[in-house]
């Protein structure tokens, strides 16, 4: 439990350090959700998930060099798992952002 609380606090402090970016992102997402309104639909989730997967794959390869390391430094299972976790996190954010955009861009039924 302590480790989970610690991780939540780490994420919180990271978010605080990039607060303007977070605020812009949240406002943008809310605006997209509001604009999409009734066009939001569960039918657009699969495409959003697909975009999320692409984002996760891109993050998987981009995050190590962006953090001063490389895939060659993956020493054991925990390294791969933590990289996968970070990539999945990016993917999840991409899904949440993509859903209203996809809903707006796709033709309504």
């Amino acid at each position: 439990m302590y480790e989970i609380w610690l991780m939540l606090n780490i994420i919180y402090e990271i978010a605080l350090s990039v607060l303007p970016l977070v605020v812009v992102g949240v406002v943008l997402w809310l605006a997209l959700m509001w604009t999409a309104g009734k066009r939001l639909s569960a039918r657009h989730i699969p495409l959003s998930l697909g975009l999320g997967v692409l984002a996760a794959v891109a993050a998987f390869f981009a995050v190590p060099p962006l953090t001063g390391s490389s895939l060659g430094n993956m020493g054991y299972g925990l390294d791969w798992a933590s990289l996968a976790g970070v990539a999945l996190g990016f993917g999840a954010v991409a899904v949440v952002l993509a859903w209203p955009v996809v809903s707006l861009l796709r033709q309504p039924d």
Binding site: W5, E13, K38, S69
Partner: protein, 448 residues
Amino acid sequence: MPRTNPIPPDEAVSVSRRDWLVGTAGAGAALTVGLQPETARAERVATQAHIVIAGSGLAGIAVAHRLGKMLDGARITLIDAKEGHNYQPGYTLVATGVWPASKVSDRNADFHPAGVEWVKDMVAEFDPAANTVVTAGGQRIRYDYLVVAVGTHQDWAQIEGMDVNAIGTHGLASVYPSAQAAVATWAAMDAFRQKGGNAIMTLPATPIKCAGAPLKMTFMLRDRLAQAGTLGQSVITFHSALDSVFGIKVVNDNVLARWKDLGVGVEYAQKLKAIDIGARRASFVTPEGTTSEVPYDFIHVVPPMRAPDAVKNSDLAWKEGNFAAGGWLEVDKATLQHRRYKNVFGLGDINGTPRGKTAATVKKSAPIVAQHLVDVIAGRAPSQVFDGYTSCPLIVKEGSAMLIEFDYDGKLTPSLPMIEPLQAGYFAWLMKVRMLKPAYLAVLKGRV
């Protein structure tokens, strides 16, 4: 015939989205409250006690936050002249060119809890018999309870000819004195690696804060030389004043095996006694008194360390035993309560304990010291036991590190079962460069 549906599809999605948002927010709030440590949710103890905290680094500010939440009515005074707050665990990243100095420099005023009185002066004298501290400016401050969190004194005077202001010139480096020294150290390292040459890395015989830093600097120097293509014309030698390079044998042996593979030499029982900065010559002495002079192109100097004079010259210091020579604070290693003055506690690098001069030690011990001080105020005996937790993300090259965690007994104690302490890799590096400072800030604010 048109299909009928009592709820149109879009409204069905709207209703479920609203419910999902509300449900998620509620679950998140409940989870956050539930995940908080028990002490964060415990009732506050009513008291009119005056608590003085000497030192406004990580330890002092963290315990001030905690005590403010745990006590109702206490008067808390922080004494420290420093306006700046330095994230010292980041110094090795600045000194090896990974981070800019801006990432390790903040202001104390931004972190002090509300309602705490800040005396902008240094404690010059501790008079525990009179429950009083005296500042450098002559102010006498009485206390009911005292937390000593004044850190270490870097005893540069032990190295004849050493000049901290010359760091960054003539191949002279040291990660320890300040953020500016760390920047200058990178400048010296960067200049050295362009041509390569003879590099000396030193380790004193005294306890030091962040015992892993001299090793990290050695690993990173070797990596930077390899990146610059000048490793072939360089020799790196680690001069330890002890018979080892690290206090945990299994880690010591692992590091030595890696250095053997990397071509880093090691000399033992070599205490740095003097340095001629202009001539780039270092003098070492053995315990038997044999001296040797070694030329260098680059030298990383680690200062001997001891307690600041205010503690060392007071009745709070150990009077006998292993910690007496350094004047370290005489605390019980399990409770961190002073062994003779029961209204005094120690936190952080000042403690005369077998291990634990790291930020991670403060992370684990600040809640314990706060709880024990509250216990004593409430008339209870200290209720918890500190196991000496210490942690060191030991960088072995840019992009890779080992996560070493251990206790007073020198036993490796990984926080998570899947961590392999002696396995270098990306996870420990990612922690070091992206997660440890946010964790530090959470500790500083008394939340973790």
